[in-house]
């Protein structure tokens, strides 16, 4: 039987090479969209028909690795949730990129499809060395995407992004090497590892994952990379790539009960949520506002997961749910930021304003994303944030819940400031002529994510009941 999960994972990468032979830009976009949809459809069918499944591929012989390593892929509700978030975001950004990317479109499409494969690989792989392969491979297309289609400081940003995340990943490699040397080669075997050095191993994992997640003080690569990347890539970086840190944190670090480590991550997560929020409130560059907001929301996710590890099921569900809701909300926030900076030909929020008059669609999408990030009910981010607060109270960390509420106020402040400054508020500098509405491809891209935000916000109980709770 063909290993279907593996097929779904590598399909976009294989299809990407056929794009070399397609001349029309529109056809290249359609092929990229179809490859993502087919890949997602395979995973959807498998999940709907079989639920939680594992698929054995082959063994690595013990001659080279000391232990024979089985290569296994799996899908459960949580990985399916992440794959869904990735697919939705990808469909939106592929359509958006049709207008946004003017040069070397073939290379761009190939790279984003390779990135898609590596992202899906991270969500479905059970084998630790293979997980690391996908994890590190993700860096190559994402770095090149920043380098070739990024802003003025793209060279510096991309090298910083690569080196920071790779340096932290080397710590993860050491941790994996220690586990492999003890015969632990699967993520599902981690809970059975009882050696005293587990704190040490998990600390190495945590540093790597928090760096990828952009948690203070390991976040320094994030504002530069996110603000210098082309808009669709910023959406992927912020929406999915940093979420891989949170997802892996749940899979690996929470597989062991290490409270001392989780206290530290809780503290850092809260600090990060504050730090990101305050800087987003002060920032005037639209894309950097979104980037700092990502640092803040990355803090929410790790806070929820850490409290979950400390015993609160609500916080755990909240943290996992926020992986999905943040992916779509921040994706839309970045697309709106990119669109307005494209319309105004500047990234400075002080030189924008009154845009709602001419651009009804973009302003509506801006409002949806801002309100979602502000934690307004019936939009995507509210359920996750609410459950994290409840989780803090449930695990008797009332002070954490109170601090988190304060962070949410800051979050609401910068999100509304963003919207009011750009779309509503008269600016200090008079704008000579207001730009017109953006093109239909950008609008469709944003529309998909706006629909996703509202759908997730309304149907959150179904997602929690069917995708999260049965698989915890």
């Amino acid at each position: 039987m063909i290993p279907l999960i593996f097929l779904a994972t590598i399909l976009p990468a294989i299809v990407s090479f056929s794009i070399f032979f397609i001349k029309e830009k529109k056809r290249q976009t359609i092929v990229a969209l179809i490859s993502v949809l087919v890949s997602y459809f395979i995973i959807l069918t498998l999940f709907v028909t079989k639920g939680k499944i594992k698929e054995f591929l082959f063994y690595y012989s013990e001659k080279l690795t000391l232990y024979s390593i089985p290569v296994i892929d799996y899908i459960d509700g949580i990985s399916f949730l992440m794959i869904t978030a990735t697919a939705v975001l990808y469909i939106a950004i592929i359509i958006y990129s049709y207008s946004e990317i003017k040069e070397r479109y073939i290379s761009y499409t190939i790279l984003i499809l390779l990135l898609y494969t590596s992202l899906i690989g991270i969500f479905v792989t059970e084998t630790l060395p293979i997980f690391y392969i996908y994890w590190e491979f993700m860096l190559i297309p994402s770095t090149l995407l920043i380098l070739w289609w990024g802003g003025e400081k793209r060279y510096r940003s991309s090298i910083k992004f690569f080196l920071f995340t790779h340096a932290s990943s080397l710590l993860m490699l050491i941790a994996i090497a220690i586990l492999v040397s003890h015969g632990i080669v699967l993520i599902s075997q981690l809970h059975s590892y009882k050696n005293p050095d587990i704190l040490y191993i998990m600390s190495l994992f945590t540093i790597a994952l928090l760096t990828k997640q952009g948690i203070f003080p390991l976040h320094t690569w994030l504002p530069d990379a996110h603000s210098e990347a082309p808009t669709p890539i910023s959406a992927i970086l912020s929406g999915i790539i940093i979420e891989t840190g949170g997802y892996t944190f749940y899979r690996i670090v929470l597989s062991q009960n290490i409270p001392q480590l989780l206290y530290i991550t809780t503290f850092l997560a809260l600090l990060s949520a504050f730090y990101g929020g305050i800087l987003a409130l002060k920032e005037n560059n639209v894309k950097r506002i979104a980037a700092y907001s990502s640092i803040s929301h990355a803090g929410y996710i790790i806070l929820g997961l850490s409290l979950g590890g400390l015993g609160s099921i609500y916080a755990l569900i909240g943290g996992l749910f926020h992986l999905l809701s943040h992916a779509v909300s921040k994706g839309l926030f970045f697309l709106v930021s990119g669109t307005v900076s494209h319309l105004f030909k500047t990234k400075d929020i002080r030189k924008m304003g009154l845009l709602m008059k001419n651009t009804r669609f973009t302003s509506f999408f801006g409002l949806i994303s801002s309100l979602s990030l502000a934690g307004v009910p019936i939009l995507a981010c509210f359920p996750g944030e609410f459950m994290i607060i409840v989780g803090g109270v449930q695990s008797k960390y009332l002070e954490i819940s109170l601090a988190f509420v304060f962070v949410l106020i800051i979050s609401a402040a910068y999100a509304l400031r963003f919207w009011l400054k750009i779309f509503w508020h008269p600016t200090d500098i008079m704008i000579k002529s207001l730009p017109e509405e953006t093109d239909c491809y950008r609008v469709i891209g944003m529309f998909i994510l706006a629909v996703a935000i509202i759908t997730i916000g309304i149907l959150f109980t179904i997602i929690i009941d069917y995708l999260l709770i049965p698989f915890l």
Binding site: K63, L64, I140, H166, I176, A177
Partner: protein, 460 residues
């Protein structure tokens, strides 16, 4: 194993080169030359299969040639890529003397690989002069042929060559001294560590470990790039495997002094190699230092395998093969970009992706593999080193190695970014050189996705 066939396999390349001296063959075109060399490599592959499939035949009372599965896997790769890199010599208009030297080097290399296990056994179990002399013959054959390969009518090249010859002469004397000391019957416990030190120092000089590395960057810049590429792939690989085989065995008797020497050599080589590479502007010199640091990682691997008493050096073979294929391919690319025989600097690589995307992609893949980034084979090489170290609980050495992996990533990334940036620079005009590079690239990707292929080659 049929030792008669193995002997034929060893000596055939050296003698096969001689007809190339004949004027008529010398003047034939490239295609004839490639066909001529191709026939040799097909014959070697057939001999290799027959040597292992038929009945066992030995030349003397004792076994003279022996090979483990990991060495056999390496041997197959040397034969395949040895041919491809000789093709590079011919395609790059290398003279017939270079081809003859390359074939002789292959003979020496085969001799070294086939005799390394009997040599080690003879030192420890049954002292035998013939077993000690055979690898020496292999080493000296490699040295002489390397001189032929490295020779280039350029002032800097000749200076580098003289440096190389002097170093190799001293190293040979150290190796001979080491071997003779093993034959001492009295004061064995006192003499053995000294003999080991002599042997390790001699081999360290040949593979360019710090502090015996001075010749290596100069030679890699001064000599023709195709010669350097071939020499690294065939010569360096066999020397390192030779070192790995006897190190693992010698560890059984003199572990304390052995570990001390090896750790120092590894630390100095990794640090000086990587940090010096980072500061280089000429990519060929950068790679020269990278070879030194790779030798340091290999010594780390040797330490791990010695402690674990793994007599078959799978991990070392995998590392050295993947690393040397990537580095050799990079030498070919950099050499082909040169104009007027001047080594290019990194600024001349600007805009290569726009001008020659395929060259840029190949160059990036080789650098990424060298840096140990997945999904290329170099990643597994580095993972194996780290996991073997963790198995021995030498965590601190693992951290140091991981730090220098990062330095390697940094300079690799600088070159890749330079290639991807905009600007005017050099181009490759000779398209013939690409064929072996595509093979090397595919091999590194396949091995990176499926490292068991290496294991399968060992069982052929």
């Amino acid at each position: 194993m049929n030792e008669w066939i193995v002997l034929l396999e060893i000596i055939l390349p050296a003698f096969y080169g001689l007809p190339l001296l004949i004027k008529e063959i010398k003047e034939k075109n490239k295609e004839i030359m490639i066909l001529y060399v191709g026939i040799l490599f097909i014959s070697l592959a057939i001999l290799n299969i027959f040597a292992f499939s038929g009945e066992n035949k030995i030349l003397q009372n004792d076994i003279l040639f022996e090979i483990s599965p990991s060495l056999r896997a390496t041997l197959w790769i040397l034969l395949i890529f040895g041919f491809l890199f000789i093709y590079e010599i011919i395609a790059s208009n290398g003279s017939h003397t270079k081809v003859i030297s390359a074939l002789t080097l292959l003979s020496g290399s085969l001799m070294l690989i086939y005799t390394s296990i009997p040599f080690t056994n003879s030192l420890l179990i049954k002292k035998s002069l013939i077993h000690s002399i055979l690898p020496l013959i292999g080493l000296e054959t490699m040295t002489i042929s390397s001189i032929g390969l490295y020779f280039y009518e350029k002032e800097t090249s000749i200076e580098a060559l003289i440096k190389y010859i002097l170093t190799i002469l001293i190293s040979s004397s150290f190796i001979v001294m080491g071997i003779f000391l093993f034959f001492t019957e009295t004061n064995v416990e006192y003499i053995l560590p000294v003999a080991t030190a002599f042997l390790i120092t001699g081999i360290s000089m040949e593979i360019g470990l710090v502090p015996f590395h001075m010749w290596l960057p100069d030679v890699t810049v001064g000599a023709p790039s195709y010669s350097v590429a071939y020499s690294i792939l065939v010569g360096d690989t066999s020397l390192i495997l030779f070192l790995a085989i006897f190190s693992v065995n010698l560890y059984k008797i003199i572990h304390a002094s052995f570990i001390a020497i090896m750790v120092l050599l590894a630390l100095f080589s990794m640090s000086i190699g990587e940090i010096s590479a980072l500061s280089q502007k000429i990519p060929r010199r950068m790679l020269g230092y990278s070879i030194i640091s790779d030798a340091g990682y290999i010594i780390v691997g040797v330490i791990a395998e010695s402690i674990l008493q793994m007599t078959d050096p799978w991990m070392i073979s995998f590392f050295v093969v993947t690393s040397n294929i990537a580095i050799s391919s990079l030498y070919i690319i950099f050499g082909s970009l040169e104009q007027n025989n001047k080594p290019i600097n990194s600024n001349q690589l600007s805009g290569l992706f726009v001008r020659q995307p395929m060259t840029a992609i190949l160059l990036s893949i080789f650098f990424l593999s060298m840096a140990g980034i997945p999904p290329f084979a170099g990643f597994y090489a580095k993972l194996f080193i780290l996991s073997y170290l963790m198995e021995t609980f030498e965590y601190w050495l693992g951290y140091i190695a991981a730090f220098f992996f990062l330095v390697c990533v940094s300079y690799s990334l600088l070159i890749i970014f330079k290639v991807a940036s905009e600007g005017e620079g050099a181009n490759i005009k000779n398209k013939e050189i690409f064929l072996p590079l595509y093979f090397a690239c595919i091999f590194l990707i396949v091995l990176g996705l499926w490292p068991d292929l290496f294991y399968i080659l060992g069982g052929l």
